[in-house]
């Protein structure tokens, strides 16, 4: 009989600790090599690092893979939900809250190797067929310069479309150098850097103040805090970690 009481007591303790620790639903779109699917579960350095940083603030995270367009719509209506590594859009900022920066991204122009020389200004894009990922900050840049482009609903398809000659230039934040095997038949090269912007953690507007404050404390240097250096190392992406820390003016610990 005694063991049953201990079991019950144990269950109560476990239950109360669950109740004390807030759990948020986090949606993320695939963004290799930083957010990937492994065994049907979201994984990668962004995911593992954010999980640990949230946990350090007493917040548990439950992940769900979701295409970014659906994700953004869901955030506005689903209480207690967040989107990890989403792009900033002024229109979205009136219905959801951008809580903290997750990582920097480089918006750059890519071409099939040998087809286009190095570029120095946006005007040079005008004479080519351009495909561009659907990011508000990029749309604004291209529209301001009156550059015609085909917006890509799925950013992940951009490199394959460029290799298949669907357009001459791809404007994207995906890093081909981290994705493409050296044996790829059609290699891609960067011909110009356009801008450096950031990906964000964005949440439903009514997220509780305590959880919001915890998440803000978790992300002073995005998913590149001292405590997650080992995660980046485990994925073989320590150079990315070091570069971001230098760029954000907080050199990595050694």
């Amino acid at each position: 009989m005694k063991w049953m009481i201990f079991l019950l007591w144990g269950c109560l303790l476990t239950g109360s600790s669950w109740a004390a620790s807030p759990v948020i639903e986090v949606y993320a779109d695939l963004y290799p090599p930083f957010i990937i699917l492994q065994g049907g579960q979201l994984s990668g350095p962004y995911i593992d690092a954010f999980t640990q940083l949230a946990k350090e603030q007493g917040i548990d995270v439950h992940y769900q893979a979701m295409p970014v367009r659906r994700l953004m719509k869901r955030l506005a209506v689903q209480p207690n939900s967040c989107g990890l590594a989403v792009n900033f859009a002024p229109g979205e900022a009136e219905t959801i809250r951008y809580i903290g920066r997750v990582a920097p991204i480089t918006l750059a122009v890519y071409a099939r190797a040998g087809t286009v020389g190095k570029m120095v200004n946006l005007e040079q894009l005008r004479q080519y067929r351009v495909g561009a990922i659907d990011v508000a900050e990029l749309n604004e840049l291209l529209d301001n310069a009156a550059i015609r482009y085909e917006p890509l609903a799925k950013a992940g398809n951009g490199i394959a479309m460029l290799q298949a000659n669907r357009f001459d230039l791809l404007v994207s934040d995906v890093l081909p150098e981290l994705l493409m095997a050296k044996s790829e038949r059609v290699t891609i090269e960067r011909v110009m850097v356009l801008a450096r912007v950031e990906r964000w953690l964005a949440c439903h507007p009514e997220l509780s103040p305590a959880t919001l404050n915890g998440l803000r404390k978790a992300l002073p240097v995005g998913v590149f805090a001292d405590s997650v250096q080992g995660i980046w190392s485990r994925y073989g992406l320590l150079p990315v970690y070091d570069q971001v820390r230098r760029e954000w003016g907080t050199p990595a610990p050694h």
Partner: protein, 311 residues
């Protein structure tokens, strides 16, 4: 006028109580607006003053504004003066979504409750400061999308359209452009170019003239506010293209109504500036009565926006 219900405001649970009892004097609430030469902000000020007149026991209201839409230093001066006068709450329509943040941080540090209205402060700057400043206002994206959808239906696929937007430092200017873009994209139209008209009639006219010259085949001009749309009407008439280039605005100010009536402007969006002011005041009074801390205020209080066209 044809009124299409576009955005139903969220239930304002916080605002269900409309009267409060104060132990001593009612709190001092200040509203700092942008250009008082813009009818939109005159309507907003009138709404706030009407609320205060109807509830004299609830608050002591001060309403101030600047002359130019982008007068950041003018707004800063007003706020510093108000802080010396010991206000309890500050409701701000910022001239710039980032540049106004330092003086607002000073206000918060002085114990003043700060609420953002109409033009949202940039979340990226708020996140870096680690501060919560609630936003009371509409979805400019949704409003602009409805205006853009209406105009796009009148044009053949492939048409080229110009955007005239507010100052680049204003989040609502960019949100409206994003809404216009989304409408154009879904209708198979494209953006021919963007110019800033800085919310102003004359600057809007110059921006429109520039776009008309750069893109002779332009089929429409979508303008981020009604003042710039009035400027666009003048530019289109001067170019002899009246009827060939469709024009839309945003805000539904009194001055745009005759242009809507005679078809020179096809559509606009009403954001009910008077009601925005009421919601923001009630949020401030509720928070002051409850002793709610700045960090614990709600993030966003959505207000309505409606498409306005001829029947």
């Amino acid at each position: 006028m044809k009124w299409l219900r576009l955005w139903c405001c969220l239930p304002l649970l916080l605002l269900t109580q409309s009267s409060w009892v104060w132990a001593s004097d009612p709190p001092a609430v200040a509203i700092v607006l942008k250009s008082m030469q813009n009818e939109f902000f005159v309507q907003m000020a009138d709404g706030a003053k009407a609320y205060a007149s109807a509830h004299p026991e609830q608050l002591r209201l001060t309403v101030e504004g600047v002359k130019a839409e982008t007068d950041v230093s003018g707004q800063e001066l007003i706020i510093r003066r108000l802080l010396e006068q010991k206000i309890d709450a500050l409701i701000i329509v910022p001239t710039d979504s980032v540049a106004m943040l330092p003086v607002l941080m000073q206000a918060i540090a002085a114990g003043v409750l700060v609420i953002n209205m109409d033009n949202k402060l940039d979340d990226r700057a708020l996140a870096l400061e680690g501060v919560n400043i609630p936003f009371v206002g509409p979805s400019n994206f949704a409003g602009a999308r409805s205006v853009g959808d209406f105009v796009a239906k009148k044009l053949p696929a492939g048409s080229r359209v110009g955007l005239i937007e507010g100052p680049p430092g204003s989040i609502n200017a960019r949100a409206r452009s994003d809404g216009f873009r989304a409408a154009l994209r879904s209708a198979g139209l494209s953006v021919a170019g963007i110019r800033s008209g800085y919310w102003d009639v004359e600057q809007g006219r110059l921006a429109a003239a520039d776009l008309l010259q750069a893109e002779p085949g332009l089929r429409a001009l979508l303008c981020g506010n009604d003042n710039m749309a009035i400027g666009a009407v003048q530019a289109v008439a001067a170019a002899g293209k009246q009827g060939q280039v469709l024009i839309a605005g945003y805000d539904h100010i009194p001055g745009i109504r005759r242009y809507i009536q005679d078809g020179r402007v096809l559509a606009t969006a009403d954001q009910y500036p008077n009601r925005q002011a009421e919601y923001a005041i009630e949020l401030a009074l509720h928070a002051l009565a409850q002793g709610t801390k700045q960090a614990d205020l709600p993030g966003i209080v959505q207000t309505p926006v409606q498409l306005v066209t001829l029947p």
